[in-house]
Amino acid sequence: MSNISNNAGSSFIPPLGGGGASFPGQIHETPGGGIVLSKLDDVINWARSNSLCPLTFATSCCGIEMMSVAAAKYDFSRFGFEVARASPRQADVIIIAGTIVNKMAPVLKRLYDQMADPKYVIAMGACAISGGPFFYNTYSVVKGADHVIPVDVYVAGCPPRPEALLHALISLQEKIKSGLTREQIKEVK
């Protein structure tokens, strides 16, 4: 416990503002400083949630809106999604931006398997949720990416607005902080 308080440092903890970014724990004032009490799990989750590297995985139209989110106007770096990684080995979260078709499904599965734990999945857009506009009368579209890999957060839209994707990313952060993602629940069991 004392380790954490030393690492965190008293200047680091105080009012970090905005609910999302605040450090999990309580400060107990003592003469000449203070002691932080926290759970190791909470601290790890807090750290993980604020530095998520997304994989650049875009199959179709939603990829353009994902690029918009990365560009200057919306800029997801502000929320800790600093750099989009091209390699699944370096990525934490995969944003499935676009339709998954039968030929692509094994590739998506492999990409997911190649990512290091803990890993998170966002299904962006109607196609990744359910097949969307390509639900009826198609012979080649997977009706939802969750048939292939598990999904943590779904974003509706065709394509979703950049704000919607930002909201999904922030939702994912909150989910990680409260230990409610699929990976974390699995660990507890």
Binding site: T59, N137, S140
Partner: protein, 371 residues
């Protein structure tokens, strides 16, 4: 995928690029045979985003199937919609009001600029420069805002319907377009300063990926990629549709046929689009924005064809009608597919590192190729 990694009988190495690779701009899979660092053969594998759109269209009505075409070449979704609407109007013999025609052309050209902006940012990113991406998106967002206000969507617009456009333009439309033209003109010099005049960039583009005019024609390459080789193929000039025959603009041609020529064509084409917009923005005629059409459209029995110029080249819609409410068969001629077919020819004999630059100048959109 893995089975293909290995060596050929001649001892050349086979490597895979994609389907998940940032430089392929989507999910294109290239199987490349290399001898040392020299490319012997490039084999594109398609189908990773084949969504069976043509088959789907056979079960959608003439009003419905237009929406699916926005998802094909999503960077020129407006122009795809336009082609389908023109084809249906052609079959129904509907007269489109002058106001709708002007709005359509304005939107087409705005889309073309937005598409070229994105291409420019992505192209520079392929070559390792990240900053142009942010510059390009700054201007692109201005166009997206205009689209959002009038069409209700940023990317897949579905604004053009058979007989005209879905709703009238927003009262702010003209002012915002004028603001955009001003913004664009003040920023376009940055593009040249940042990228075009850059000596590293020029060294990586000049003399790379040569495509002769004869080859461009025989591979069916269209659009800016062919115009970089000096092939005159702008559908707006050669087969004018809508009001393009009354407008003043130049068909941009370069003659060197290398990657830099294709790059310059697109940069110069943006200026021509601005020229078209400037001619029209103050001259939008009053009147209806949509012709009166029946609620359920039925095309007469027969075959209908319409081609338009998208940001990537010639896009064709071919409808076979049996007289019912849905098409009997639809075929799309997408520019990306033919442009990609020339990649192997262009890349042979050049270095592996130049392949990305060549692919960038072809401006491929993979869902447009796979459909």
């Amino acid at each position: 995928m893995v089975e293909e990694i290995g060596r050929t009988e001649e001892g050349n190495v086979i490597i895979n690029v994609g389907p998940q690779h940032p430089a392929t701009h989507g999910v294109l899979h290239l199987v490349i045979t290399i001898n040392g660092e020299t490319i012997v053969k490039v084999e594109p594998h398609l189908g990773y985003i084949h969504r069976s759109i043509e088959k789907m269209c056979e079960s959608l009505t003439y009003r419905q199937f237009i929406y699916v075409t926005s998802r094909m070449d999503y960077l020129s979704s407006h122009i795809n919609n336009h082609a389908c609407a023109l084809c249906i109007e052609n079959g129904l013999q509907v007269e489109v009001p002058a106001r709708a025609q002007v709005i359509r052309v304005l939107m087409d050209e705005l889309t073309r600029i937005a598409s070229h902006e994105l291409w420019w940012g992505a192209m520079a990113m392929d070559l390792g420069a990240f900053t142009p991406f942010f510059h390009a998106f700054r201007e692109r967002e201005a166009i997206n805002d205009i689209m959002e206000e009038t069409c209700g969507a940023r990317l897949t617009l579905n604004y053009i319907v058979p007989g005209g456009v879905m709703q009238d333009i927003h009262p702010n439309f003209q002012q915002r377009v004028k603001n955009f033209i001003q913004l664009y003109k003040s920023k376009i010099s940055e593009y040249d300063e940042l990228v075009t005049g850059n000596i590293i960039f020029q060294n990586r583009m000049k003399g790379i990926g040569y495509l002769s005019p004869e080859d461009a024609i025989s591979f069916g390459v269209t659009g800016p990629s062919a115009r970089g080789s000096g092939v005159s193929c702008d559908t707006r000039k050669t087969y004018p549709y809508e009001i393009y025959s009354q407008l003043e603009f130049d068909e941009v041609l370069e003659t060197t046929g290398d990657s830099f020529a294709r790059y310059m064509v697109r940069i110069r084409e943006m200026n021509q689009s601005i020229r078209i917009i400037e001619q029209l923005i103050d001259n939008i005629p009053e009147g209806d924005f949509q012709a009166k059409t029946k609620a359920v459209l039925k095309l007469p029995k027969g075959e209908f064809m319409q081609k338009v110029e998208t940001a990537r080249g010639q896009f064709g819609v071919y409808i076979v009608s049996e007289g019912g409410t849905t098409p009997y068969r639809i075929k799309f001629r997408s520019p990306g597919f033919s442009n990609l077919s020339a990649l192997d020819h262009m890349a042979r004999g050049s270095k592996l590192g130049d392949l990305v630059a060549m692919m960038g100048t072809l401006d491929l959109v993979i869902p447009d190729i796979d459909r």
